[in-house]
Amino acid sequence: MSLYQFLYIAAAAGFILALKWMSSPATARRGVLAGQLGMLMAVVGTLIRAEIFNYEWIAVGIVLGAVIGAPIAIFMPMTGVPQRTAISQACGSLASALIGTAEYYKLQPHGFIMSALIVETLLGFVTVTASIMAWGKLQEVLPGRPVTYKGQFFINMAVLASAIALGIFLVFNPERTDLYPIFVVLALTFGVFLILPIGGADMPTVIALLNSYAGLSACAMGFALDNKLLIIAGALDGSSGFILSVIMCKAMNRSFANVLFGGFGQVQASVAGTEARPVRSATPEEAAQILETASTVVIVPGYGMAVAQAQHKIRELADALGKKGVDVKFAIHPVAGRMPGHMNVLLAEADVSYDKLIEMEDINPEMAMTDVVLIVGANDIVNPAAETDPSSPIAGMPILTAYKARTVMVIKRSMGVGFAGIDNDLYYRPNTLMLFGDAKAFTTSLVKELTAT
């Protein structure tokens, strides 16, 4: 065994420890360090391999990548984390797809290696365009609503099937380099089509799934290059992305197929009747008074909080209430926001202590004993229709049972519907107060009221 092989083994151990230490906030930063050391050993190990002759290009490439990557990490606002993850995934899978392509043109291998290269490049290229599309939807340069049309499913399947068929043909006829570009175009096209019918609120599942593809692509590269480190790191990533997307699907009571082939936003037009039902609304003064006299308050954040950048004001509100002896907690739904755990990161950024961030299963039993639930920019995840109306598009989705609280307050711009496009019965309940306004502006006036008195 040569030195680089020892470094590779140590690198693999680093990645495993990185994931292990991610289990708790107390050890998570150590986990990142383990991952960084693992990556360092992997890179150094590769650089000292006997096959490496040409260092100029490598050095320039690494420096250039670092110069692009570091500012993204330093200046990206926390609300932009889902977009960053998507674009970073596009970069990673582009690398993997291009390496597969380069290997193919160099060797035109047969048999197992060619199969691995085809899997690597197929997953790689699909993930490149899919991630860019996901980025576009998250950044809102593309419409966040699902884009669907007649026969979409069959067109998508036809594109995927031709890509796979051509891939298999290339495995048996690797010398047909003229066909390879067509294979690439088909894979890239499928990536675009894959994301078109998926709406913004399904992004947590999709980003996790794309993460899984990127990992599996690296894994296939490991088979093509006979590199166990790539297989291990790729498999860890692949399973991580997969399990996260399963968790996200469960949190919406939907199947993979349902998320991927979309149509979630399509049902509503007929469902959302336009009958004007009376709602009760309140001014900041009235709301502040109710909050002040409560003994327990649970805040339910949603994507609207991220859009309004209201997390800092929300924390000030929680602090102001805390000073008055009110017990304030945050209830976090698994799919709130645009990526798994999105709300936690935003509230952590706003300096909310993480032991105040309570998961759905743990907070729901407490809801009935809660004086006030304050909902900020969340809609479908607190919609009681999920429990009561079997015909609702979100029927069966686990929700935060905010409606059980004595008083429910909802900060909302207007009576508009949420992502699922369905009306929320919660708003019309007698114990619900609507606080109309921008999440940040309204919270600011709440804080003002609370600190003035």
């Binding site: 991952g35 995934q89 993997s96």
Partner: protein, 97 residues
Amino acid sequence: MNYEFGLYVFMLSAFLGFELIRKVSPLLHTPLMSLTNAISAISVVGAIMISGEKDVPELSRILGFIAIVSATTNLVSGYMITDRMLKMFKKREPAGK
């Protein structure tokens, strides 16, 4: 290469991955995704191999170079932002007491 051995490595790592990820608190799912995203930049290893080898066709070398740049972008921004996020997760003493 012994493919059978490679497949065993894959199977064991995939199961290990499942077990490890299941234990991660939902609190940390976003940093976890950033971290695994950074780890998927392991493809930089393949990129270095293809760019550094002797007698590589020009096209492969160019593709390898682009791959190094994009994998390193993924790697650097992934690790740095994960650490930036985790730095923010703090446990505070209850306010007002």
